[in-house]
């Protein structure tokens, strides 16, 4: 399974077109000052990408003469405001950050995204290089033939593990998912002060990490249009993920999300932590883990290796009163120059050219672990799937039921048969809703 799981003929055509880059004349006529004096309202998720990018806000305003008004919230509050504004068909927001793997299908079905395909063909700076952006992430943002956003970063859950503890306990690098349990068992016996394995246990958040287990173990969320948790692969994934957390996870893992995972690993209290690649700068803060950590994608299972790979995207609202000026901001923020700048501040770049950029390579070479981080991300880019939760319009809600199934096993309130049956029933009901 590749990230291009929603294969769409349009996307292939779009990508092919973008590589050949036919709009030479449009590019030649391109003028960064074309929308001077206009104001663009940007609704941002207050995450490392936006905070880093907005340090250069002045450069954008100087280059284009466009005033950028920023409204920044934490992720959930941003979505709350966004759904209110878009549902009211308001032009209050021109540009916003979005996670295509989560809300993409829903927002696209509601008609809330402006199709950016014509802009990428007709209104582009000569040095923009649309075809340089990750094909997988571009494809993940294509819904019903419309390009709904431009990728901002690439991310996914990866395994951070302590080489010193592995060495002390005589544990080899895990090659298969089943090795994780063996390694965790050995570490538990060898070093009781360390949590052998940690990952997300918080109900609404765990689909992000659990999905990788499901796919690697040969499972999928849907089979013949029906929820497939009660297949042997689905049950095996539930049992393995919940079992690892229950038997070898930290106390209180049922409330664990990125914040707790990062704190625990950074403090040297977990031997393996399966969590977001985005947390790399946070995990390495203070430098304590720089020399004793190795990174890798989740080991393969019976179904192979299908890392979860997603990315934030920048979209233009269908109700924007200044869509052309908004596109200028999108274009500037996702340009090779800006993405190279951001990469050197720890934002994993979705552009191949940035990964080959000399300055970025020099930055990676400063610390061997940075290079390892980039190499792991490359595996995610090459082999990943963006399926986090059930690929239906009600994807955000589906994550709730996935989390519930894992929590049932984690808390011991039901058997795997009860957990999978409850999830299948709820998810089939959700799929049937419009």
């Amino acid at each position: 399974m590749a990230i291009l799981h929603r294969s769409m003929p349009f996307a292939a055509a779009l990508l092919a077109a973008s590589v050949s880059w036919p709009a030479v004349s449009a590019a030649a006529d391109f003028d960064w000052r074309a929308h001077e004096g206009e104001t663009v309202n940007f609704l941002a998720n207050n995450n490392p990408w936006s905070t880093t990018l907005l340090k250069y806000q002045g450069d954008f305003e100087k280059l284009t003469g466009i005033k950028l008004r920023v409204d920044s919230y934490q992720e959930q509050q941003m979505r709350q405001r966004l759904t209110t504004v878009l549902n009211a068909h308001s032009d209050e927001v021109d540009v916003f950050m979005t996670l295509p793997s989560r809300e993409g299908m829903q927002y696209a079905a509601a008609g809330w995204y402006k199709d950016l395909k014509p802009y990428t063909e007709q209104t582009v700076s000569p040095d923009y290089k649309f075809g340089d952006l990750s094909k997988a992430l571009v494809e993940a943002a294509v819904f019903d033939g419309a390009l709904t956003g431009i990728p901002l970063n690439i991310e996914g859950p990866i395994l951070y593990y302590r080489t010193d503890i592995f060495e002390k306990c005589g544990v080899p690098k895990p090659e298969k998912i089943s090795d994780l349990q063996t390694a965790a068992k050995k570490i538990k016996e060898c070093d009781s002060s360390t949590t052998p394995f940690a990952s997300r246990g918080l109900k609404p958040a765990l689909a992000y990490t659990f999905s990788n287990f499901l796919h690697n173990m040969g499972g999928s969320y849907l089979k013949d249009g029906k929820s497939a948790f009660c297949t042997p692969e689905g049950k095996a994934a539930l049992t393995t993920y919940a079992g690892l957390l229950r038997d070898y996870g930290p106390p209180g893992v049922v409330n664990y999300s990125f914040y707790q995972l990062t704190s625990l690993y950074r403090a040297g209290r977990s031997a393996m932590s399966f969590q977001s690649s985005n947390e790399f700068p946070g995990v390495m803060e203070g430098g304590a883990r720089l020399k004793d950590t190795a990174l890798m994608p989740l080991p393969a299972g019976d179904g192979g290796s299908h890392p979860t790979t997603i990315g934030w995207a920048l979209s233009v609202s269908a109700y924007s009163a200044h869509p052309d000026a908004a596109w200028y901001f999108v274009q500037w923020a996702t340009s090779p120059e800006m993405q190279a700048r951001l990469a050197m501040e720890g934002i994993a770049p979705p552009r191949a050219s940035v990964r080959d950029n000399a300055d970025y390579k020099a930055w990676l070479a400063e610390e061997p672990l940075r290079q390892s981080w980039q190499d792991t991300l490359q595996v995610l880019a090459d082999q990943g799937t963006s399926e986090v939760g059930v690929p239906i319009i009600r994807n955000p809600e589906s994550r709730e039921y996935i989390g519930q199934a894992v929590n049932t096993l984690l808390l011991g309130t039901g058997t795997v048969d009860e957990a999978c049956a409850a999830a299948d029933q709820a998810l089939n009901g959700l799929s049937a809703q419009k």
């Binding site: 609404p204 106390p251 209180g252 419009k434």
Partner: protein, 289 residues
């Protein structure tokens, strides 16, 4: 304003801004929520009138009943704790008139802290692996707790945090009530030789009842709508053990985009809050002196 206008007209003109403000800021959103609660929202943003379907759905929705139970459990536990500790704190401050100002300020400082900050702080303290709470417990040879991560312990833990934050607020209200009690009653009790315990239970607390009910009303409105602290610390978990009606409604509305059903849940919660206030108002009338 012309001097020929009647007092009635003048009154209407003067109160118009307040009336307009109230209608715009309170009545309109509430009426709009009621209207929304009779709508079905598709996942792609279209709406259609669906009568009382959202309210009917509530009856068979286990999560609604769970939310209702959690809401009342948290409400009753927190209110009882806050009244108890708030009254004790007020009595200490009332008796210790020489208490330095800085100590009094420290006593009341928690409720000046934004709930989000308080939530983050307690999240760190109560972290089962890295937090100070378990470190202290284990230092004394006591078993560690999972605090907010234990389905059976999460509501008492949330009630404890809220009590830590809001007892000082109750204490300030009770302190005001204590200062307004008639000294003559205490003088009479002293002449009759009443012990301090008898004075407390036979005079002070009965006379304080109207003040305590006023504090109950103010806290009830907040506690029944308990949101920020839960959202920061548990998001309704683990396993929906702290999923109050307010948290459930928020998630249904803004995470799952079922604004009609979420509005029905919130209208129901508003009716519950209103009912609680009306009952407590009756109680206040009954204990007035």
């Amino acid at each position: 304003m012309s001097s020929q206008q009647s007092p009635k007209t003048q009154l209407a003109a003067l109160s118009a801004p307040a009336v307009i403000f109230t209608v715009a800021m309170i009545a309109f959103p509430f009426c709009y929520s009621i209207w929304l609660s009779f709508q079905a929202f598709s996942s792609v943003g279209t709406t259609s009138f669906n009568g009382a379907d959202n309210y009917v759905r509530m009856v068979s929705d286990g999560e609604f009943w769970n939310g209702l139970a959690v809401t009342f459990y948290l409400y009753i536990l927190s209110l009882a704790l806050q009244l108890f500790f708030g009254t004790i704190l007020a009595l200490v401050m009332f008796r210790s008139k020489k208490l330095p100002g800085i100590v009094r300020s420290l006593f009341i400082s928690p409720f000046m802290m934004p709930p989000v900050v308080a939530g983050m702080m307690w999240l760190v303290i109560l972290d089962p692996s890295l937090g100070a709470a378990n470190y202290i417990l284990t230092s004394f040879g006591l078993p560690p707790s999972e605090w907010l991560a234990s389905p059976g312990f999460v509501v008492p833990t949330l009630a404890f945090i809220d009590t830590w934050q809001w007892s000082p607020y109750v204490a300030l209200i009770v302190l005001g009530g204590l200062q307004a009690l008639p000294p003559s009653v205490y003088e009479a009790a002293e002449i009759d030789g009443a012990s301090p315990v008898k004075v407390l239970f036979r005079i002070t607390l009965p006379l304080l009842l109207p003040t305590l009910v006023a504090a109950m009303i103010l806290r009830s409105v907040d506690l029944l709508r308990f949101f920020d602290l839960i959202y920061i610390t548990t998001q309704g978990g683990p396993a929906n053990a702290s999923n109050t009606l307010n948290i459930y409604g928020f998630r249904v509305g803004f995470e799952f985009f079922q604004l009609g059903y979420a509005s029905a849940l919130m209208v129901t919660l508003s009716v519950i809050v209103l009912g609680a206030v009306l009952v407590l108002n009756r109680l206040r009338d009954a204990v007035a002196w």
